[in-house]
């Protein structure tokens, strides 16, 4: 298997969603989340096999490039080599919580990722997508504790977290581009 169709499709999704994601981010951060993700994915699509997530990290830059890149590394390894997706995403989620000093409820990408990881144990990707979407929507009423959104009015309450939106897009795209993804190899 190859991760190429996944990254190609993800690039198309973020091309279409860039303006929307920037607008979401403008309410809680510096308004560049969509552009940053797209910049990374543009390089990921052009990169060599097995180097796509690292190319994403380099091009998107900043701490967010590292944190989202860790998710992409797990997906890429699953698609390229059949590494178990549940193990990979679980490790990525732990590392993101550790590095970003966030936990569930802090209004971040982790609010979508952590429930998805829990639902994925056993290989059920559709259940993981549903759980991630519920987590994403939960960020609307949450108050940010970390990152730039903690400094905006009322910690960004009333606005959905753009990072959580991106996590859901990752998983939806994975399911579409690779219908057998997540299954026990």
């Amino acid at each position: 298997m190859s991760a190429e169709p996944f990254f190609t499709s993800l690039h198309q999704k973020f091309t279409a969603q860039m303006v929307h994601l920037n607008a979401l981010d403008a309410a809680v951060g510096d308004g560049d989340h969509g552009s940053t993700m797209l910049r990374g994915l543009t390089k990921a699509v052009a990169a060599d096999e097995t180097k796509r997530s690292k190319a994403f990290m380099r091009a998107s830059g900043g701490a967010s490039g590292t944190l989202f890149g860790l998710i992409l590394i797990a997906i890429e390894a699953h698609l390229d080599t059949g590494a178990p997706l549940d193990v990979g995403l679980s490790k990525a989620c732990e590392r993101i919580c550790d590095l970003g000093e966030v936990k569930v409820g802090d209004k971040s990408m982790v609010d979508a990722l952590a429930p998805a990881v829990a639902a994925l144990q056993g290989g059920d990707l559709p259940a993981a997508i549903t759980a991630a979407a519920v987590g994403r929507d939960s960020t609307k009423v949450l108050v940010a504790r970390r990152g730039r959104s903690q400094y905006v009015e009322d910690g960004g309450r009333g606005h959905i977290d753009p990072g959580a939106v991106s996590v859901v897009i990752f998983l939806e795209t994975l399911a579409e581009a690779s219908p057998n993804a997540g299954g026990i190899a």
């Binding site: 690292k54 190319a55 990290m57 380099r58 830059g61 900043g62 701490a63 490039g65 590292t66 944190l67 890149g69 860790l70 590394i73 590392r95 550790d98 590095l99 970003g100």
Partner: protein, 343 residues
């Protein structure tokens, strides 16, 4: 503000072209041109623990100027004022690591910590024996009971040099790591800014400060600190800063402290030497000998005006390593001599 660059896109690589062609100590990494490694004096990484650090550019000579014998084995160079990405730091780790293991030094700032620790995790996944050592010393960033929340400031240069010398002696990764933590516990730094640096990217000053005010405790990127004081004779400012440093980490009467007086880029040697003299005199009034000073502009933010004072109360081993021979493009010779100034 006038700046002497070609283009914003190429300014970092243009600088690195100049750097590697000027000094025999260094060359670019094989896998990535943004990794600077030792050249003429490199040692076998299976025998010697390798030390590296990643940082944004715009603060030269730190840290690429310290790559060479007795200090760092590699520096991973990010864009202007931006932490290098995790995969770039991973390239740097892979470039210099061997059987003896490596230590990634991280000057504690949010982006550097996330990308540096992320790189170490990825390297460990690839079977590389590397540890991350966060470095922090800025007393204005958090009180003593929350030392771990402090930023990295110019006092971290004590760690580079002491670990660099100890690594050159062939000490183990575990020994070096605990030595690094022990040195870190003994460093305190406080900075005073008088005027902003100008960003090479925007051409704009990075903060503003009234003509008659000095900002105490400003971070290397202009981050806020203790607060503002009025400009007066520098001896009064040094007196205030040393009082704060000693209140944070006392040194007993009869003790000694190694000192770094670091200029931020736009402060003259004439001023820095005056500040050193006042520092030595003030410490002497507390019964503390100021020894083995490092004085100059090493951690800079373009033409930012201001300086920092760092103190480290050394053990004999730390002092020997601090004064050990090194051969890099920019690390100065540090000497410890007892001089009789009364003659």
């Amino acid at each position: 503000m006038k700046k002497l660059f070609n283009t914003a896109e190429t300014m970092v690589d243009d600088m690195l072209d100049g750097f590697v062609s000027a000094y025999p100590h260094v060359k670019r990494g094989v896998n990535d041109p943004r990794v600077i490694i030792r050249d003429s004096n490199a040692k076998d990484a299976d025998e010697k623990v390798t030390l590296l650090i990643g940082n944004g550019s715009g603060h030269e000579p730190i840290a690429m100027g310290f790559v060479g014998q007795g200090v760092l084995d590699a520096n991973v160079v990010g864009d202007v004022f931006a932490a290098p990405s995790a995969d770039l730091i991973l390239d740097g780790i892979a470039e210099v690591s061997g059987a003896a293991g490596s230590i990634l030094l991280i000057s504690q700032h949010s982006g550097d910590m996330i990308n540096g620790r992320g790189a170490v995790m990825m390297a460990q996944d690839e079977g590389i024996d590397v540890l991350a050592l966060p470095m922090y010393d800025d007393i204005s960033a958090a009180p003593p009971e929350r030392k771990k929340d402090r930023r990295g400031a110019p006092g971290t240069m004590f760690i580079y040099k002491i670990l660099g010398a100890a690594a050159e002696e062939g000490r183990s990764q575990a020994d070096l790591f605990s030595l690094g933590e022990a040195v870190r516990d003994r460093i305190v730094t406080l900075a005073a800014a008088v005027s902003p640096g100008v960003s090479p990217l925007t051409g704009l000053p990075m903060f503003s400060l009234p003509e008659d005010e000095i900002f105490l405790g400003m971070g290397v990127h202009g981050e806020p600190g203790v607060g503002r004081v009025k400009v007066g004779p520098v001896n009064e400012l040094v007196e205030l800063m040393i009082d704060k440093l000693l209140a944070d980490r006392p040194i007993t009467d009869g003790g000694c402290a190694c000192v770094i007086i670091n200029g931020m880029g736009g402060t003259t040697m004439m001023e820095l030497l005056t500040i050193w003299s006042e520092t030595k005199a003030k410490l002497s009034r507390h019964g503390i000998s100021a020894i083995a000073p490092m004085i100059g502009s090493y951690v800079t933010t373009q033409e930012m005006g201001g300086f920092s004072i760092s103190l480290m109360e050394p053990t004999d081993d730390m002092l020997a390593c601090w004064c050990a021979h090194s051969d890099t493009p920019s690390f100065p010779k540090i000497t410890h001599v007892e001089k009789d100034l009364t003659q």
